[in-house]
Structures are given as structure tokens and as C-alpha cells.
Symmetry: C2
């Protein structure tokens, strides 16, 4: 006898659509391999008329009243796919309080209110899972909680924003300007009409906050975090990065150091030989350094209806199996983590792009005791170089000196293998 | 009150050593995050004297009699780390029959007798897990069973043998001959003194058999599988591969096609832009194509005491948590899978290396209606080219024609992006 698990979905947008399709496609496999029979009992929509076609096609019961779902005792799992903070937060809270398990893909909400919602879930002995909130189809949160359970993660680094990565890849490989690459991303469906959240780094920052909770067991607060987007990147930067053997990637990263944690979201030069160099276009990648396993990478689609829906479906199945076994409710992270103590980076290589430099840069840098790893000075008084490892103070001193002889256009961190 | 879980380890070699160390390092974390207290109760060794130092250092109770472990009712989990088929198979069977859960890293054994052992485990309602048997520190088996549970995998491809990958990487990047690269691998500890099993492809073949069970739900039989090692690769091949924009990698792969499955272990030319090109030296990578998620890659260390031990420890923890919750026993794959129906590959690009070719190859190929993607003919009558896509029949016809005008030295499959 199969255990019937009833699901209600809040929203019927792109991901919810994908969820309905993927669940139907997997129905037989799930029945064969588990004791479960999953079905979507109700879907909350704004307008029944607008979604009538989909409802008929997939035999969905639509409702415009969230209470229809929240008071229905037959609903086991509520899947929140409306996005945004309000009313998602209130509805999830009500669902948890009414002993319903919740799955969400809402990264903004989990990054900002994940602790509060997890505490509510725990208090009501129900599960709150959100695998799809970070890196779409990559099961990164689940892996952090299982395969790294007995390990100690020292650093986590991610290409977490598909829009930015698409733009940077197109600038690098197709020689497009930032504006052309953004337009191409919009045409291909990889960028919103208002891409601010993505290209300014906020989307990656929210995801990093969630990753840091699970990987480093710390609560990273957005206000503490340095966030820089890709808006200032030019073809000139890509030209020199490429010439020096690097690629520019928007990275979100956190690294444990002696005095605390160094974390940021910023465009970084990574070596052409680093695994991140092949994470192209809309794909995402998460690189983990840990004491026992060493270096690992998970790579996959960071967005898209089907991959994101599949992560939601895996969360649903995890809860359903757990439910069937009458287990303790599952949470992805504790709700009472210590606040992440952020510190300035230590020694780091930097990329500098300067213009209006009339003097010989090599001689100048030698006088400043800087030994560049790479340097290129053009006849038009433009120059770029990668410094040796500098402290923050040394970097600031160098910037001041460079400003006396040139116009400093760009400074980026550089990662070595 | 912590649930006490008692572990017995068969063998005290490199991985067992790593397990003891990793478990001690993780003891506090495990106690904090779970209701479990794990301890290694007994270790089976051949000679107590030889391991006395380790036993004292880690306070291990040694025994030379496997019965000491098998009849001990306090032992919950037996970890088999002696390797080989006999007596590992008999001891695991006895342990399962005596209702002990088993964790093993023994790929040869699981590839050959996994179905039988899984059936025994099921019949006795105990778990049999073997994450460490494939790709050391990469949690690939666990991911196939969880994140892809509701998905449908269509192809799985892996760089699964660290020794071969180390040798190929060194030949490609450092310009070493096969013999020099093998010696370098041996000096670095990445190759055994007798590397046959690794460089001839058998190790990768065993791992592929295990992967295919979990990914494609089919039983791949070793005798059906085409297995080719890296022994015939020369610097000349690496030179042309590199020149044409490829790298030579030893791949183990299985792909569902209309008529069945195409699977093999062989050296393949992969594009420099393929994620596999970044899987270097002793690292492993597994690339998965699936209907819902699309393309994913898991990358990490394929061997090494600590990563392999960590996979064993994760299996132990999975069983211990399950044990604590009085769950149904866990198996990684069903024991009654249908036999994999292997078919010849379909259309494929091929790399040819020929010598003693006195005529113009371009004109010759044109006459054979072959349109090469890349071609290089040297003055010394050596030539290499990559064909357009050919059927198996077309490939054989071409080989026959080439043999009339030259000496065919090498033919390898070529993958396109």
C-alpha cells in the first residue's frame, strides 16, 4: 500500500510549471522505487482564468485563497514558489505553524529570514528544505549536509549567478561589450529585463549567505559583506586578463583564516587552468576545500525551470520518505549559528589597469619594490599588470603612488592555482 | 543519551589508517550534530606485532581472528578494507548473515559480486554501502541515489582512474614519454609498482560497472565491455591531439541509445574546452547527462587515504543514523537488474595517426568522401587527422583504404562539445 503524500504549490510560474511536468514524468519511477504516491492537490494562483489551460492540461485544482491550502488537513507539504519576501514569509510561517512541511526555492527569503523560519519549523516539528535556492540544479546544500558531515570545510567558492557568468563569458569569448553581452543574455533568457540584482552581485551574495551557514556553520550578515558586481568590467580588462592567462569571473567566496573569515562577492581573475575557467555561460560551479577530502567541485545548471524544479522535487521526496518513516523533521542548518567574523583579506595578488601613464612602469614599480608577475605597457600610455602578493596596506600605498603618475581604472583580486 | 555504535575494521592498511584518523578528528563534530557515539571496537590484522605501534597510538583492540568480530554481538558495522575477492567475499557474506551492516571500498568485489552481496544484505535486513569503491572522495554513488532519484540519466562518463590520468596529464603537459610519466606516477605515489590493473583500464571498468547499476539501472557484464588502456599512447598522439585542440583522457562511459547502451573504457580525445580537460593528474571527474537537470559534473580526489576514508566514514554515519532511527536497511542498488544490452557506437569522429604515407592525404581522403575536421601531414610522411562523423562500417572501410597507402598507427574516438 503506497503512502499518499499531498502537495500544495504556491504559485504557478516557470519553476512551478517545471515541477508539475517533472513530477508527472517521474511518477512511475517514484512508485517503483519507493512506497510513495505523490500528488499535487492544490495550486495557489492569482487568477484562475489565466491558468485555466495549464490546470486542465495537468488536472490541477486551482485556488486563489491561500487559506484553502493552509487549513486543509490533507496537505502534507507546501511548496512556496511565489518568490519575494512578502507574503511568502508570512505564508511559510503559517504553513509551518499548521504542521505542514515546507519546500522553497526563495533565496532572498532564506538568506534574510532562514534562521527565523528554521526555528519556527523546528518548534513545530516539521521540515523546511530549500535546495533550489542555491545553484539551481546542483545539489550543493544536500552534499554539504551529508558528504561533508564528518569533514571540516575551510573554504567555499562559487560561480553562483548565471546571468553574470553568461555576460562575462560572452565578453571573454565573443568579444562583446558589456552592453552587447547583457542584451544577448536577455535575448537568450538568461537575464531579466531589470538585471540589477544579478549583475550587481546581490543574488550571489544571498546564495553565499546560505552556503556559509551550511559549510562554515556561521551566520554571514549581508551588511558585513563586501559586494561588487560586474558593471565596471570592460573588454580592455578581459583582453589583459586573457593575455596574462586568466579569466574574469564573478565569485562569491568565504575562507576561514586564523583571525576569522574572509568573504566577498567580486569579479576575480582566475587562472585559465582553474576548474572555474570552464564554468561557462549560464552554468554554476561550487568549489569546496576541506580537511579530509581536499578539493571538490560540483558543476551544473544554476537556473532554468527543469533543473530548479528537480531540486524542489528532490526536497519533496526527501521529506516524503522521512514522513513515511515517521522521522524527526529535517532542517538544512541550525537556527542559532554564531555571527561570521569578517576580516580583511591577507596577502593577495592584484590586477591593475592604468591609463595616462607617461613614465616607464617597470622602473616605477621596481622603485616601489613591486615585482609584477605580468606586465604590459602600451604605446598609448595604457598599462596593466599583476602585482606580487601584497597586504591591504601595501595595496593602498601602491594605489596612491600609481595615482601620482597615472589614472587608476581598475583593481581586481587575482587567484593563483 | 548517545546511541553507541560499534565498528569493526577488517584490515589496517592505508585507508583503514585514514579512517581511524578521520574518525578521531570528527568525533566531537559527530557528537555535537547527531545522537551518535561511534567507536572502533576491533581491528582485524594479520600480525598484532606489526601493528602494535598504531594500536597503542589510537587505542585500538587488535585481533587476528575474523571470528572474534563475526560472533561478537556488540559489533554493529563491519568495514571491509582488506581488498581482493577472497576472503573478503566470504567474510562480508558471513557478517551480513550475522545481521551486521557492512561498508566496503572494494570495487573489484562489488563489480563482480555486488548483486549477490546486496541480495544477502537484503535477505538479512542489513545495509551494504560502498561509496568509496568508485572515485574515492567524490560522493557519486550517494548523489546518483538521491539527487537523481526522480530524474532519468541518459549518459554517465568518468575519469575514474587516477594513475592513468596522472600519466596522461604528465605526457600532455610536461612532455614526458609514457615510461617517464609512469615512473613519475610511481615516485609520487600515484601508481603501484605493478600498474597493470590501472593503465590497462580494468580498474576503470570495475568502477563503470558499479556506476551503470546506479545510473542506468542495468547490469553491465565485464565480458561484454570493450576495455582499452593507455599503454599504446605516445607523445606523438599527444602532440597532434593538442595541436587539433584536444586532450587524450582515459574515459569510462555508458550512454543510452535507441537500441540499447553504448559503453566502453578507452582513451578518447576530448576538446580542450570540455570540463574533463580540467580534470588533471590524480583527480577524478564524473559527468552526468540527465533529462531534468541536464549536464552535471562532480570533481574531486579519486584516491588517497584521507578522501577514501572520508567516503567510508560517510557510509558508516549514514548507516548509524539509519540504525538509530530503526529504518529499513539501505542498499545502493537493486540486486536483480536487467543485463545491459551493449551496442556498437553510432556516428563518431575518429582520430587517425598514420606513417609511411607518400601521397597527398587531403586528395586521398577527398576521394574516399572523408571531410577531415583537422589534418596535418608532415614531410617525414607522418600524418594525423580527425575524420568527420563515421559509422562503424565507414571507419573499417577507411582503415582498409589507409592501410593500402600507409601504416595505421593509432585510431581513437573523438568527442565533440
Amino acid at each position: 500500500m503506497k503512502k499518499q503524500v499531498n502537495i500544495a504549490v504556491l504559485g504557478l510560474g516557470v519553476v512551478a510549471n517545471g515541477l508539475v511536468k517533472n513530477l508527472i514524468a517521474a511518477e512511475e519511477k517514484i512508485k517503483q522505487q519507493t512506497d510513495l504516491s505523490l500528488s499535487i492537490a492544490k495550486v495557489l494562483v492569482r487568477s484562475k482564468e489565466k491558468k485555466q489551460g495549464l490546470a486542465q492540461k495537468y488536472q490541477l485544482t486551482l485556488t486563489t485563497e491561500v487559506e484553502d491550502i493552509l487549513v486543509d488537513p490533507t496537505i502534507d507539504i507546501v511548496v512556496e514558489l511565489i518568490g519575494g519576501i512578502h507574503p511568502a514569509k508570512e505564508w511559510i510561517t503559517l504553513a509551518l505553524q499548521r504542521k505542514k512541511h515546507v519546500v522553497t526555492a526563495n533565496k532572498d527569503l532564506i538568506a534574510r529570514f532562514g534562521n527565523e523560519l528554521t526555528a519556527t519549523a523546528k518548534a513545530n516539528n516539521v521540515s523546511l528544505l530549500y535546495e533550489a535556492s542555491v545553484a539551481g540544479g546542483i545539489p550543493i546544500l544536500h552534499n554539504l549536509n551529508t558528504s561533508f558531515m564528518a569533514d571540516e570545510i575551510t573554504a567555499i567558492q562559487g560561480i553562483l549567478n548565471g546571468t553574470s557568468n553568461f555576460i562575462l563569458t560572452q565578453m571573454n569569448e565573443a568579444g562583446l561589450t558589456y552592453e552587447e553581452a547583457l542584451e544577448s543574455a536577455q535575448v537568450s533568457g538568461f537575464a531579466e529585463s531589470d538585471p540589477t540584482n544579478d549583475v550587481d552581485g546581490w543574488d550571489a551574495a544571498y546564495k553565499l549567505i546560505i552556503l556559509v551557514r551550511l559549510a562554515l556553520n556561521q551566520d554571514l550578515v549581508l551588511d558585513d559583506l563586501s559586494v561588487k558586481g560586474i558593471g565596471e568590467m570592460t573588454q580592455v580588462d578581459h583582453f589583459y586578463a586573457h593575455d596574462f592567462g586568466y579569466q574574469i569571473k564573478l565569485l562569491a567566496y568565504a575562507r576561514e583564516v586564523d583571525e576569522g573569515t574572509y568573504a566577498a562577492v567580486e569579479p576575480v581573475l582566475v587562472p585559465q587552468t582553474h576548474p572555474f575557467a570552464f564554468v561557462k555561460n549560464e552554468m554554476n560551479g561550487v568549489f569546496i576545500e576541506s580537511k579530509m577530502i581536499g578539493n571538490s567541485l560540483l558543476y551544473g545548471p544554476g537556473a532554468g525551470a527543469s533543473p530548479t524544479a528537480e531540486s524542489v522535487l528532490t526536497d519533496i521526496l526527501t521529506i516524503a520518505k522521512n514522513l513515511n518513516n515517521k522521522q524527526q523533521a529535517l532542517q538544512m542548518s541550525p537556527s542559532n549559528l554564531p555571527r561570521c567574523k569578517l576580516h580583511k583579506e591577507g596577502l593577495m595578488n592584484y590586477y591593475f589597469l592604468i591609463t595616462d601613464c607617461a613614465i616607464d612602469l617597470t622602473t616605477f614599480l621596481e622603485k616601489q619594490h613591486i615585482r609584477p608577475i605580468s606586465l604590459k605597457q602600451q604605446e598609448n600610455s595604457e598599462a596593466a599588470f599583476i602585482s606580487n602578493k601584497l597586504t591591504v596596506q601595501q595595496k593602498h600605498d601602491l594605489i596612491n603612488k600609481l595615482q601620482e603618475i597615472s589614472h587608476v581604472k581598475q583593481i581586481l583580486s587575482v587567484w593563483e592555482d
